[in-house]
Symmetry: C2
């Protein structure tokens, strides 16, 4: 066991502040990583403020962060894919049972015994797992990802959640050249979706409520931008989309998008509105459309996504901040005031 520097919230109403936490010494299949960058996901904010108390109550102190990129500092005797000095990344999970049908099929995200990167029971040290707002982390090799050397590390960090969350459903629903793909909501997730849809060769259309986002959508790779409040403009696209990724967590009219789907078209939610959405069944009956959800991705697919990003030089657009600005970043994130993800430069933690 050793001490690591970290930023933690001590209650739902406390700011995130400097502290010291215990990390385990690497066991034989563990990888110890010096964290260089950690992205800020909206989940961090929800968890720190205990906004999911019904489903996943927060245990304090809470060290959030599951978009982790760093450099290997030590490995256990049985580790063979990493050596000290390698780049490495960790996403939303740090363990799973490895034996259930979901794990065997590469869907660790659906394993009934997975362990999330923070605020989840820690089998090694007791208490809960601590995330990436820290200078160091120790993770089982099976959950450590390789990072292509050509990627900007600050921008690579958000790939571990925002990236895989949008990449996975696109792959599953066959986004590729010749397909018409929509992206609803141009935030942390949505902007990654645009980059992936474009890189996968699809004709990419961004839906936005704000005309001011048009130029940026085009810059990110969109072929077209549609103002979703303009019924006339929406109508022109009726029945034409193969796939739409909906990254909006606020309540909204999903039927307006379902009607844009072609035969066998699918709309997948990666945002998670707290209240149920009202879905008109007639819109699904005609053209055999489907409405579904997706959540992160398995470990093998996360590696595939990182390799794809390496090949296409895809990273998240980030605003790099020192960890001392994390509370300010939370305030801005709550107002969607970031293009498009905050990435914490963990070198800033050395001065604490």
């Amino acid at each position: 066991m050793y001490k690591a520097k970290a930023y933690a919230a001590s209650s739902a109403t406390s700011p995130v502040a400097a502290t010291s936490i215990a990390r385990r010494d690497p066991t034989e299949d563990d990888v110890q990583i010096e964290i260089l960058f950690c992205g800020i996901c909206h989940s961090d904010l929800h968890q720190v403020r205990d906004e999911w108390s019904g489903m996943m109550p927060t245990v304090y102190p809470c060290v959030p962060g599951h978009e982790i990129v760093g450099r290997v500092t030590r490995v256990g005797a049985a580790v063979n894919k990493f050596k000290p000095g390698d780049l490495a990344a960790v996403g939303c999970m740090v363990d799973s049972d490895g034996t259930c049908p979901e794990c065997k099929a590469g869907f660790e995200q659906f394993c009934p015994n997975f362990v999330l990167t923070y605020n989840f029971p820690d089998k090694h040290l007791g208490g809960v797992t601590y995330g990436g707002y820290s200078d160091s982390i120790v993770v089982k090799e099976r959950f450590v990802l390789r990072v292509p050397g050509n990627l900007d590390l600050a921008g690579a960090a958000p790939l571990l959640c925002a990236g895989i969350t949008t990449y996975s459903p696109m792959r599953h629903w066959g986004v590729s050249k010749g397909k018409k793909v929509g992206v609803v909501g141009l935030g942390g997730l949505g902007h990654m979706a645009v980059k992936f849809a474009h890189a996968l060769g699809a004709h990419t259309v961004v839906f936005t409520t704000s005309a001011s986002k048009k130029d940026d959508a085009l810059r990110l790779g969109a072929d077209e931008v549609v103002l979703s409040k303009d019924a006339n403009e929406m109508g022109k696209h009726a029945g034409s989309f193969d796939f739409i990724l909906d990254a909006v967590a606020a309540p909204h009219d999903i039927n307006a998008y379902i009607n844009l789907l072609a035969r066998d078209g699918n709309i997948t939610m990666v945002g998670a509105p707290a209240e149920p959405l009202a879905v008109g069944v007639f819109g699904l009956l005609f053209r055999r459309r489907s409405f579904s959800g997706s959540i992160i991705g398995g470990i093998a697919e996360t590696q595939e996504m990182l390799d794809f990003c390496g090949k296409h030089t895809i990273t998240s657009d980030v605003e790099v901040i020192p960890i001392q600005k994390v509370n300010e970043a939370y305030e801005r994130l709550a107002k969607s005031d970031v293009k498009y993800r905050f990435s914490i430069d963990m070198a800033s933690l050395k001065s604490e």
Copy 2:
């Protein structure tokens, strides 16, 4: 042009009553059919009573019926798949443009220019198309189906709507041996779904609100019956279904069924509740589940379904009635008082 006997409604509040209608003489690619049986679909009732006035207002007189089985009496010069004396069937459509991408892909049900069997503009005679509550019909060969000779004709008639409506999504979503399949709602559609799921080799589970339906569900081919109001019994099946077919048109809690789906499981609506259903997004995110709709099927797939029924000797369970009892049958249908479909013996029309 010739006169055919028929039963028609003359207004939304009139009973269906004997009348005479015009049918076209067969053109070169037409098939003339003596109608032997016509199933009663709930759509007939909706259309006759103008309950879809917003979407598809009824033109009177209205001759309903789109579950038609009969014998060929005459064929046009260019017809080569049918000859007088052959068994033949007609479903929900009698024409489509044949040139659009949907038609070319075998999805005439999604053709923007399809022609429904009744209450749709008739390009040949003007007015609207007249359905199967008649002693004769003339239909373009491309929309005439072959009926396996081993099937009971009264029970075969409902295959043309209730059959294909349930068969098509099961094939699309991969219902087969080794899969666990649920059927919600044991009515005209649901009872066909049970027969198909069983014949396709799936482990078939019927959900019902009424314990009294259990024996009948087992007789139809179900392996298990679950009382949907029993949360404990439902809970035992959580996360275990590959596919659920939901044939309930009344408002109901779809999320209770979504939670029963395994990873990548799909629930397809074939019933069409008038009001939107409230869909909880978290249920879709976990296990990457999907919620979709399906409506009848294309012509080639309808033939495939009839051939499958011939091979497995599958027909609808029907109560055969003379056409003079059609209004009474409507009253009973509105109360779900039929096991499981009415089939009109059109010989009864001869006495009118």
